[in-house]
């Protein structure tokens, strides 16, 4: 997986910027992630009991009332922390930050103490409570590049590491450095509003690395000191006139 003889001497450091202004909360990212990463469908019973697995999820928060009502859709995946609290607590080292800055989960090594899940301040880790099956004909569309997870292990967003690896192998075969924007995870690829930007922080002169250093970006729970590699472009409130123009604003329901 980690090819240290790669022609790229400087290894990329993958990161994501999520633009909350662009996000419409359509959940295309969550669906794409599910399809790409063979995420189990746990069913309505489990969903009612907090038993769903969503590597990428949309967290919806409501602010204000009536005319000041605002809804914020925040896509939350594994924040790929530089200083990940989930890693040191695993007794079998089933999770670690790889050479490209991705916090990876080693399914074969995981014994399922679930300590990492508790120590993740973003609750981005999910446990396989059962051996999940895919109702026919969904099993034929499983992604062959991603292993299926058995019961009793943790799983989480991997920044679509299978795609990164494929792109790196391709670049290696062609004996060239990895091109800008050659790979992106399924969520970023499928976002219709292009709210998810994926790239290499260390890419010299790249558009992504320039954006990454924008001081307007925020991280989730900065006070925990995890140094996430997912940053959010803060939502700027739409003018009131825009809100007033929307008939039957959902704020009315909340207020009732």
């Amino acid at each position: 997986m980690l090819n240290h003889d790669s022609p790229t001497t400087v290894r990329p450091r993958w990161a994501m910027i999520i633009d909350l202004n662009a996000c419409t909360g359509c959940s295309a990212c969550a669906v794409a992630c599910r399809a790409e990463n063979n995420i189990a469908i746990t069913g309505p019973g489990e969903a009612a009991y907090n038993g769903t697995i969503q590597w990428m999820r949309i967290e919806r928060t409501w602010k204000g009332r009536g005319r000041h009502f605002q809804v914020e859709n925040r896509p939350v995946n594994c924040q790929q922390c530089d200083d990940a609290p989930c890693e040191p607590v695993c007794p079998v080292q089933a999770t670690y930050t790889n050479a490209e800055g991705v916090c990876v989960q080693v399914y074969n090594r995981c014994v399922g103490t679930r300590y990492c899940g508790l120590n993740c301040p973003y609750q981005a880790r999910f446990f396989n409570w059962f051996d999940y099956t895919w109702p026919a004909p969904m099993e034929v569309q499983l992604n062959p590049d991603v292993s299926l997870r058995t019961r009793g292990i943790m799983e989480k967003c991997s920044f679509c590491i299978q795609r990164i690896n494929a792109a790196e192998r391709q670049a290696e075969r062609e004996k060239r450095p990895l091109r800008v924007d050659e790979t992106q995870p399924a969520c970023a690829q499928s976002c219709p509003a292009q709210a998810l930007l994926f790239g290499d922080i260390d890419q010299p002169g790249g558009r992504f690395s320039a954006n990454w250093r924008d001081t307007g970006l925020e991280t989730l729970l900065p006070e925990v000191g995890t140094q996430p590699k997912v940053r959010y472009a803060r939502r700027v409130a739409p003018p009131r006139s825009v809100l007033a123009a929307v008939p039957n604003s959902p704020g009315a329901e909340v207020e009732a």
């Binding site: 967290e59 079998v92 300590y115 508790l118 301040p121 019961r151 009793g152 292990i153």
Partner: protein
């Protein structure tokens, strides 16, 4: 312990009769005992079925869901490790302070330690997602060049608990040696062969006695160091995480105090049962319950102090992350359990133990029983509300309720503990015979 010294050792006991009386439970087995064993075995069998079912189907059969990844099993783990502090720690302290009333108490306490540790040590395995791979937590040279992660508090648990189990087993075994030799000399058949092996060819030469007494004394000192570290490390499973309300510096001493608290309570309850079932009224006298009751009173006050210190710091700091847990306990979803815990751990036992007239066998047993319930609730209220109240408010989830597998396994392990203890009383004298004899002869020395 000054009160203890004023009470000399039970001088009424003639040790020749004592040997016969204390070996009696090993010789005769009543019908009630057999029925009880059968009942316990049935519950344990049901628990084994539940465990296999849970391992085959997945941990989804429990009530655990994100973010409450830890629930009943971790509560049971902390509780049983706490109970295990009965023995070794209490008996070691009583030995080191040379409390002469300790003789009928120590063996019962040391046996609790060993069995509670065995039961407690099961829970980290039961709660694993893939329990059949539990040995991956052990540091053994693997051909895949993989090692466990020594930075994980769960790995420290592995070292702490295995050390404690070794030490407390030895600490049970060494004072048992002379009694094993007695049992060897007074038995025939398979029992004789068993005791001959276990007695390690003990003869009772004076050099053996001197060395044994020295070894017990020295080990008592070391075992206290281990016992304190074990529950501190168990508390660090929580304190080393960044979960709000778990990440607390007070957890080490708080857990150790709680462990000794529940340990003494367990000891009193088990002593009362032994006294009743095996007719040990001459040996386990009201003054033993009263003395242990005084210790328990101290621990009640200490527990109250720790809980107050923990809660008031959280409340005064008023950090939003921690207040979620705080209010869920004090007036929210878990308030019922929280106030029952306060009732069981402080309000009921305090008067029962503080008023001398109430500090009888009955009084201390009632206080100890409520304390055992209260301490289990305390562990539950540390584990679950903390996990349920996470930093990101949209992940709070109060939906955790134990399912039948968790309840069954908790009950089955309780029965396993009872069965192990019952078998122990059938195989080994539950009261140290030689120490009673030595107490009689050496009473002037220690007074």
């Amino acid at each position: 312990m000054s009160a203890a010294i004023s009470h000399p050792a039970p001088a009424v006991v003639d040790e020749k009769n004592a040997a016969a009386a204390l070996l009696r439970p090993m010789r005769y087995t009543s019908l009630a005992y057999r029925r009880m064993t059968l009942l316990l075995l049935m519950v344990i069998g049901w628990g084994m079925f539940c465990f296999i079912y849970q391992a085959m189907v997945g941990l989804g059969v429990t009530g655990l869901r994100r973010p409450v990844f830890w629930g009943f099993f971790v509560t049971d783990f902390v509780f049983w490790i706490g109970i295990s502090h009965a023995g070794t720690l209490i008996s070691a302290i009583l030995r080191l302070t040379n409390a002469t009333w300790r003789y009928p108490v120590t063996r019962a306490a040391e046996a609790i330690t060993v069995f509670a540790l065995m039961i407690g040590g099961l829970f980290p395995i039961i709660h694993l997602g893939r329990p059949w791979l539990f040995y991956w937590l052990a540091p053994y040279p693997s051909e895949r060049l993989i090692w466990p992660n020594f930075r994980s508090p769960l790995e420290w648990d592995f070292f702490a608990i295995s050390t404690y189990l070794t030490a407390s087993s030895l600490y049970l075994f060494l004072p048992l040696l002379p009694d094993l030799a007695l049992a060897r000399d007074r038995s025939r058949g398979w029992r004789h062969r068993l005791y001959r092996f276990l007695a390690m060819s003990w003869q009772g030469t004076q050099i053996q006695w001197r060395r044994l007494e020295l070894a017990i004394q020295l080990m008592a000192a070391v075992v206290i160091g281990i016992a304190v570290s074990v529950h501190t490390i168990v508390s660090w499973d929580f304190a080393m995480s960044i979960v709000p309300s778990w990440h607390s510096t007070i957890f080490g001493p708080y857990f150790v105090a709680g462990a000794i608290f529940s340990g003494i309570a367990a000891l009193i309850v088990i002593m009362a049962i032994l006294r009743r079932v095996y007719h040990l009224e001459d040996y386990l006298q009201p003054k033993h319950f009263s003395n242990l009751g005084k210790l328990l009173l101290t621990m009640t006050l200490l527990w109250g102090y720790f809980v107050t210190a923990e809660m008031i710091t959280t409340w005064y700091g008023n950090l939003p992350d921690e207040m979620g847990t705080f209010w869920s306990k004090v007036s929210g979803h878990y308030a019922g359990l929280f106030w029952v815990m306060v009732l069981c751990n402080f309000i009921i036992p305090f008067p029962l133990l503080a008023i001398r007239r109430l500090r009888t066998i009955r009084g201390t047993v009632i206080a100890s029983s409520t304390i055992l319930v209260g301490m289990w609730l305390e562990r539950f209220l540390i584990v679950v509300p903390g996990a349920a109240n996470q930093r990101l408010s949209f992940n709070n989830w109060y939906g955790y309720y134990p399912h039948w597998t968790e309840i069954s396994l908790s009950l089955a392990t309780l029965c396993a503990m009872a069965l192990l203890y019952m078998l122990f009383t059938k195989l080994f004298p539950i009261i140290s015979i030689w120490e009673l004899g030595a107490a009689k002869h050496n009473a002037p020395v220690s007074e």
